[in-house]
Amino acid sequence: MANPTPVAPEGRPRGNLAQRLYAAFDSPGRRRALHLVLLAILIVTPWLSSQYVTVILTNALLYVVLCLGLNVVVGYAGLLDLGYAAFFAVGAYTIGILTQQFGFNFWAAIPFALLAAALAGVIIGGPTLRLRSDYLAIVTLGFGEIVRFTARNLEITGGASGLSHIPEPSLFGWYIDSSIDFYYVFAALAVLAYIASQRLFDSRLGRAWLYVRHDEDAAEAMGINRVAVKLAAYVIGAIFGAVGGIFFSVNLGAISPESFSFQQSVLILMAVVLGGMGKIPGVILGAFIVVLGPELLREFDTLRLLIFAVLLLLIMLFRPSGIWPEKRS
């Protein structure tokens, strides 16, 4: 007489809170409702908060764009990029140079900035994506430093003090200049980055990144060109970074090499890892944590970065998939 093992009753969601949450928003209608609520919050927030908070949130939204971009490289394709700030820099400096020194209109300069970043991605990724993953990490780090040193040493980039008086962009006679204007610009960019990330993830290319990350040989045997697929991830990441840099430069009106240091690359990477590599909501959460965290830890001053570093180490040791829960148990 075998005693049947207890079976969970049909129809009732199982698993922990996060999985139940995932299950609750599994239907397209509910997901759309959730998106609309979040969008509404995004829209009304600046009207309810001080200018200081708006500026901080704008910065967080910039990081959402950058982190979603790096997530394509690290989270989807599994490539460790330690020089991601370089693409951020390429976007910002191209805009700065073209608008300020060559009198380009801001909008006309954007395609050049995107092209420059994509080109930089191909130049550095093309020859190095065949390398072992740790070599790639160090090459990207070296590349990041090369870009920063170059910006510091050239005249056209304004040397160590950088470029200032980058003109504000205007759209049909309306100048984008207040902090609320820029909040909405970055909110729109973050939403676009979110949609693009999601769509890429659900596409043929998105699956190919996962295949290559899981088993390069098996992926090759299925007819996937792993170098081409990795290069695509790298270039797409570069374009996200450049988009962030383009609007970053006009938001501040001034850029200097130190905005694009190794620490910047590390901070973006930290957000991606903390939130959970490859998980879009997790990465967005991570971006908010690395921007808002230091504001909340302001009294700890120099300890702030140490706290983040220890947190990163603990995450890697005890929860390498990040703080955002898995969809599947």
Binding site: I138, N153, L269, L306, V310, M316, P320
Partner: protein, 304 residues
Amino acid sequence: MTWYDSLLQQLADGLVLGSFYALVALGYTMVFGVIKLLNFAHGDLYMTGAFAGFGGLSLVSGVLGAGWLGIFVAMLLAMLAVGCLGVVIERIAYHPMLAAPRLSILITALAVSLVLQNAALSLTGGQYTAFRTDLGFGGLSLGNLFISYNQIVLVATAAVLMIALELFVSKTLYGRAMRAVAIDKDMCRMLGINVSAVIAITFFIGSGLAAAAGTMAGAYYGSIWYFMGFLIGLKAFTAAVIGGIGSITGAMLGGLILGLLESFGTHIPFIGSEWKDVFTFAILILVLVFKPTGLLGKSEVERM
């Protein structure tokens, strides 16, 4: 100054620089050899070594003075302390990750690096710390060429350490075990070699050598700070790659080559000293792309 005087001067400067690079590169290459990990925290162990040497010197300078004798003793203390730190790091952070995906262990190594760096930042407030010694400025003048005694002692110390390492690796049981572990860990386990102990010793020696370089650099340049390990870490890695990662002789050779390249490279017209670091990274990228096995490294089985 005639052209060959200037050549010799740069040779001397390059040798000093190359000694630092070689000592740090050795740690990279040894660790890479036994656990195939690029230890991002290695440059920060060099930095930690500089601070440990600074602490050691303030302990012993009352009795031994802050001349070369005091510095030597401080250096030995720093090597011991940082060597142990390296072992602890391996046990806590890397050991549990050895079976995890590569990306995870690389990020872990980066996290360790950030912890060391920011711990030093918190302790020093990000300020430079003066590394006061009683070292003089005397030296040998040969025509227009000037080599300070400090440079001579420094290069000689580095050479002694490297010769000692070479003897350890080639002549002792542990050295042989280290080379065996680098080739096939599983086979070593079956043969009864304590692989964990070999890995620990490797970390101890690699970290100790970085600490020696850190202490000497502190004494030689006169100041230390929390970020000093970043650039040298990158450059020493470059040196290890030039020599062929995994090869101990290669790391020494690579360090010297890189030191000389930098010393000469910055005197080439159009490459001012402000481009020195760009020059180094360009070399790194070129070597990795065109000859990833370096000068003395062994190639892995060729695959497409």
